[in-house]
């Protein structure tokens, strides 16, 4: 086998990432990334929820248990929430969950909470690119995690 063939046969690890995006800001930001034709890795799978405050920390844990290599919750910037303060509630709950994750031995870098507005298509693409790389470096999630 030539060296060129060897290099091509080793595939890079492609993580699967679930992003819970709120309808009003982050989902719209993802749409804007599309309208602006900004590219980001195809590893992202967006699940639309009306508000980041709708995301039960249990969803995040279940997504990991079902094999997601990374999970993100994305909501409006503080002050922008369509439902006024759902995003702040999300943060309160998720901060607690991250503490619990550490205790349970999850790699906390597999999870992120981000605020992305409807006008931040570029930022959406950037964050998705960064996070995909971050999760890629961590490798596939182990079932024992």
């Amino acid at each position: 086998m030539t060296q060129a063939e060897t290099t091509t046969s080793i595939k890079v690890f492609e993580p699967t990432i679930i992003v819970f995006a709120c309808n009003w800001c982050s989902y719209a930001g993802a749409d804007l990334a599309g309208v602006s034709r900004l590219k980001y890795p195809s590893n992202i799978r967006i699940v639309r929820v009306m508000c980041s405050g709708r995301v039960d920390p249990a969803f995040v844990m279940k997504a990991f248990l079902k094999g997601a290599d990374g999970v993100m919750v994305a909501g409006c910037h503080p002050g922008d929430c369509h439902y006024l303060e759902g995003n702040l509630r999300a943060k309160e709950r998720i901060d607690k969950m991250v503490e619990a994750m550490k205790i349970l031995g999850f790699e906390k870098d597999r999870f992120r909470l981000e605020w992305i507005s409807a006008s931040e298509g570029k930022r959406f693409a950037q964050i998705m690119t960064e996070f995909t790389e971050q999760v890629r470096t961590l490798g596939p999630i182990k079932k024992s995690e």
């Binding site: 690890f13 679930i18 749409d31 034709r37 900004l38 590219k39 508000c51 997601a68």
Partner: protein, 1038 residues
């Protein structure tokens, strides 16, 4: 006035103005005939690639409106029809029109495009602005066949034949289209038909035609292939244009690297009898230059301009982004001539550089784009001859500044570019305004000509029924189809047990696809529908309506976003994009299995409105609402109505502010439906759309909708140009007020003081200050021709007809000196003004006896209302509308609207039409007497609820209350605390669901089990994708 008042209206022109006016009338229960001379509605906006300043895709925001019009039960579309005559009286007109032969039977045509595909002949393609397309053999051909569908999203999606060039119709030969047409819709025998309708009112929305650049011979448009118009450039940028979105030179198909945009082609040109400014060209040129750079970062774009007129909301910021972020070059100059370099077909432009180099400069460009102005539509002559409307010298319909929507013919209203050049948001607001005027005229006949919508019998779907899912995977032309193999994804969907139907339409949103969906629901007994196309944020309502029309509950629907979130963001990763598409569709299928029908409750509403702010916008809104029959509470915080107008003795159009107020005030006082509250404000607000409650001066009121018209006031320029240190340094407003007291010999006016020079909130252009300064310069010069008036400016932004005032001021001898941000004027302690004149290249010193500062309008205090109604403000602190382009007078929150300078600085006539526009938005909401609740709301299982009250704490809308329930046991009564949710107030955010410690609350449409099943399904590839599984197992960690 007619004896029999008719509850119908004819809207003449199917562009965005006609569409908005039609929807606003139809929603109230008037019958609308929308007459369009072209084969499809959509007007000019459908030709645009993007819209400024948000760069929204024009078709994406307009497409759903086209379909709204088509599916509206109260709108009859009369496309390809030409207005003939109008007779009768207001309230009862007879309108004759010519239904032009399409040579295609509208009832039979399915819009499949087979005729177009096979037609061997081409005609000039006006939709693509005459651009050519390469045929299969690489030859240049016009982009349109002799028989064609106007454009992919056309409404109606029906083909038409151009008779003059059809071989069969002219020579009796060919006939291919007829042979190829499956449904047998081609009919060569069709003839033009004269028809007539009877209507109560007419709204004229005939719009514009782009200026024909051939009229300016020195620019050689039509001769040099690489000189194109901005409309052609839009089509070059557009993914569905003749080049598939590639910006290429017509001469050699190469990508141009140096592109010049020449402004004011056919505008601001007295020699062509076009004194007016076309108002939109600066912004669309900037937009096109930005888009050219987005397509190819190596492009250098140059804009040659006289003044950059970025006067609308968000425009100045957009202009600044073009300079700073996109490095677009702006050169102040008018290009006099374009020559071609015969060797490479590059273009040499000749211009006078106002900065630096004296004499004529030249520059070689790869492509030249002409920013053609807005000519009155070719139909405007019809308006004069057939509707007897008064037209201006330049061909626009004449209106009165205080009645900007009314024509010289009673019962005939006008809006959009038909009355003067304007951009889309102003056009939309005017269209709503014109609808308000027609609604007032016909109020007693409302609902008399329409039939109740008869919905088909609802298909019963119970949670225990086996799901039968239909999946449509949309190509969206090439938008999705060029990346995702839509047919393959549809086939993949079919593999799932519950999917009984799958298809891959070219455009799922097109009208024919709606028919297809309805038929599929019937034929395959579908009880769930999934469309995999674009974002639910724009298209979910459309597909939901289709389900309703098929009798299926609208919540048994899900949309998968394959465009914005797959094909557009993963264009060169087809394999990965397809895998993602399959995953997302699979997740939706799983979710769909658990969807349940939800029912929206009819909520009775109060048919009364509150208008906050008694300036001219608020007064107009109140008057229009009252005249249409809706009681209004008009709330003004000052001790009298009138607002800022009271302080302006003379406006630019010679009207006297206080007189205007007095007239409106008298009309209001004579209107029994208006309750006026001065020195008052609204307090203790509660409730939501349809059922608000509040207090004014202690009086409890109830109302269904509210208009915020709180206005704006001049900024106080403390710290700018020694303002405040001398009585000879004043603002334009102070000059307005003291005009009769001062008699200056030398006046210096400084523009853009405190705006366009600061960071947000005052980075915007305040729109009116150039005109105000020019007005006052004219007044000074007319009173004392020997007075010297110097106006120091950055750009003179006298858009539309206001340009005439600018010309007049220059004729009278006002001296205009341009300054830049780098070299701003200075005012010394002794009052000497120094300014660098870039044309002369020297510093000028002027010792005036009066310095007048042009300051921006800033919003009046609006923070409290913003919090009270939970409506947003922009970075400029003005109220922020739902959508800057197509919803300029709505807030995102239902039942709350805005008008006047609370939205952005504007002139009186603009505040007036916006006030009328906001009024009709309220009428359309209140007319029915009820609204429907959101279906996807939270519900409490009171058996589980233990009344802890945490949900009540977190509910941001105060929709949850704890109530005490008494339960009777055999011998005693038990009092228990339970949470209760108000359906009309709940917005369905779901934060209470997550908060509830005992899982007593669930949210319809987004319950835990549906969200969980969706992501679990995305994460779990099923067994029949063995190959994919095998691929995955080869993956090695790096």
């Amino acid at each position: 006035m007619a004896e029999t008042m008719l509850g119908s209206v004819a809207v003449i022109g199917g562009g965005i103005a006609g569409i908005q006016a039609s929807l606003d009338m139809a929603d109230q229960g008037f019958l609308v005939y929308l007459i369009e001379s072209n084969p499809s509605i959509g007007g000019r906006m459908v030709q645009l690639d993007k819209t400024f300043p948000t760069l929204d895709c024009a078709m994406c925001i307009l497409g759903p409106k086209l379909v709204d019009v088509q599916r509206h039960p109260n709108i009859q579309l009369l496309t390809y029809c030409e207005l003939e005559t109008l007779s009768g009286t207001p309230g009862n007109f007879t309108l004759k029109y010519l239904k032009k032969a399409r040579y295609v039977d509208e009832e039979k045509c399915t819009g499949c495009g087979e005729c177009e595909e096979n037609c061997p002949y081409y005609v000039d393609d006006e939709f693509n602005a005459g651009l050519m397309r390469k045929d299969k053999k690489g030859r240049d051909k016009p982009a349109r066949k002799n028989v064609s569908i106007p454009f992919p999203q056309a409404v109606p999606k029906v083909a038409y034949i151009v008779p003059e060039t059809c071989r069969y119709l002219t020579k009796g030969k060919c006939g291919i289209c007829k042979k190829k047409c499956g449904p047998g819709a081609i009919n060569y025998e069709q003839k033009d038909e004269e028809r007539e309708i009877h209507v109560g009112a007419v709204i004229v929305t005939t719009g514009f035609d782009p200026f024909d650049a051939k009229e300016i011979s020195s620019l050689h448009f039509g001769q040099y292939p690489n000189v194109v118009t901005t409309m052609q450039f839009e089509r070059l940028l557009n993914a569905s244009g003749p080049t598939g979105g590639e910006v290429i030179r017509p001469s050699d198909q190469k990508h141009p690297k140096k592109i010049a945009f020449l402004q004011c082609v056919g505008s601001r040109n007295p020699s062509l009898n076009k004194n007016y400014c076309s108002a939109a060209c600066c912004m669309y040129a900037i937009k096109e230059a930005i888009m050219a750079k987005e397509h190819d970062p190596n492009v250098e774009a140059y804009i040659y301009y006289m003044d950059i007129r970025a006067f609308g909301k968000g425009f100045e910021e957009f202009y600044q982004r073009a300079i700073n972020e996109f490095n677009i070059h702006f050169i102040k100059s008018r290009v006099s001539e374009v020559r071609e370099n015969p060797e490479n077909r590059n273009l040499i432009i000749k211009y006078e550089d106002f900065k630096g180099t004296p004499g004529i400069s030249t520059e070689e460009m790869d492509m030249v784009v002409l920013s053609t102005g807005l000519d009155p539509s070719s139909h405007s002559e019809f308006l004069k001859e057939r509707l007897h409307l008064e037209l201006s010298d330049t061909g626009f319909v004449v209106t009165d500044p205080l009645k900007p929507l009314e024509t010289n013919q009673e019962g005939v209203f006008v809006c959009g570019v038909a009355s003067s050049p304007k951009d889309i948001p102003d056009t939309v607001a005017q269209a709503s305004g014109a609808a308000a005027k027609a609604s007032i005229l016909l109020k007693d006949a409302r609902g008399t000509e329409i039939e109740e919508i008869k919905l088909p019998r609802a298909i019963k779907v119970s949670p225990t029924d086996e799901p039968r899912i239909g999946v449509l995977v949309c190509h969206c032309g090439h938008n999705i189809g060029s990346v995702v193999d839509c047919k393959e994804v549809a086939d993949y969907a079919k593999k799932f047990d519950n999917v009984v139907y799958a298809n891959d339409p070219m455009y799922a949103c097109a009208a024919d696809s709606q028919v297809m969906i309805k038929e599929a629901i019937k034929e395959h007994k579908l009880n769930r529908v999934i469309v995999a196309s674009c974002t639910p944020r724009t298209h979910e309502p459309l597909f939901r309506s289709t389900l309703i029309e098929a009798g299926l509950n609208e919540f048994l629907f899900d949309l998968v976003n394959l465009r914005e979130q797959v094909s557009w963001v993963h264009p060169h990763q087809e394999e990965e994009a397809n895998e993602k598409a399959r995953d997302l569709v699979r997740g939706a299928i799983t979710r769909a299995c658990g969807l349940e029908p939800l029912f929206k409750e009819k909520i009775h509403i109060i048919k009364k409105a509150v208008v906050i702010g008694g300036g001219c916008a608020g007064m107009t809104s109140a008057l229009d609402l009252a005249r249409a029959g809706y009681p209004v509470y008009l709330v003004e915080k000052e001790d009298q109505l009138g607002g800022e107008l009271l302080k302006i003795p003379e406006l630019h159009n010679s009207l006297k502010g206080p007189e205007v107020v007095e007239k409106l005030r008298k009309e209001i006082e004579n209107e029994p439906e208006i309750s006026i509250f001065t020195n008052a404000k609204l307090e203790e607000l509660s409730g939501a759309v349809g059922n608000f409650k509040g207090k004014i001066k202690g009086k409890e009121i109830q109302f269904g909708a509210v208009i915020l018209a709180t206005g704006a006031e001049p900024f106080t320029p403390n710290g700018y140009y020694n303002y405040g240190t001398s009585s000879n340094i004043i603002t334009q407003r102070e000059l307005d007020e003291r005009f009769d007291e001062v008699d200056p010999q030398n006046v210096v006016m400084i523009q853009c003081v405190g705006s366009r020079e600061d960071e947000a909130p005052r980075s915007y252009c305040s729109r009116i200050c150039c005109t105000v300064a020019i007005k006052n310069s004219i007044r000074i010069k007319e009173r004392n021709p020997n007075a010297n008036v110097f106006v120091l400016y950055k750009d003179i932004r006298t858009y539309g007809d206001l340009e005439e005032l600018y010309l007049k001021a220059r004729e009278l001898g006002t001296i205009f000196i341009r300054y830049t941000d780098e070299q701003k004027p200075t005012v010394d302690a002794d009052g000497t003004v120094t300014v660098f004149d870039e044309m002369l290249g020297v510093n000028l010193q002027i010792k005036p006896d009066l310095i007048v500062l042009s300051v921006p309008l800033v919003p009046k205090p609006n923070e409290e209302l913003s919090q009270m109604f939970k409506v947003p403000r922009g970075s400029d602190n003005f109220f922020l509308e739902a959508h800057v382009k197509l919803r300029p007078i709505d807030f995102a929150t239902d039942g709350i609207f805005l008008a006047g300078t609370a939205h952005f600085p504007k002139f009186t006539s603009e505040s007036i039409f916006q006030g009328s526009g906001a009024a009709v938005r309220v009428m359309a909401l209140l007319a029915k007497g009820y609204i429907l609740s959101e279906g996807a709301i939270a519900i409490v299982n009171q058996d589980v609820c233990r009344g802890c009250g945490r949900c009540e704490e977190v509910c941001p809308f105060k929709a949850i209350e704890l109530e005490v329930k008494t339960i009777k046991m055999e011998t005693q009564e038990l009092k228990m605390v339970k949470a209760y949710i108000n359906e009309a107030v709940c917005k369905g955010c779901g934060t209470c669901v997550v908060t509830c410690p005992v899982s007593a609350i669930t949210i319809k449409h987004f319950p835990d089990k549906l969200i969980e099943s969706q992501f679990e399904s995305i994460l779990t590839k099923p067994e029949f994708t063995e190959q994919m599984e095998a691929d995955m197992s080869q993956v090695e960690a790096p």
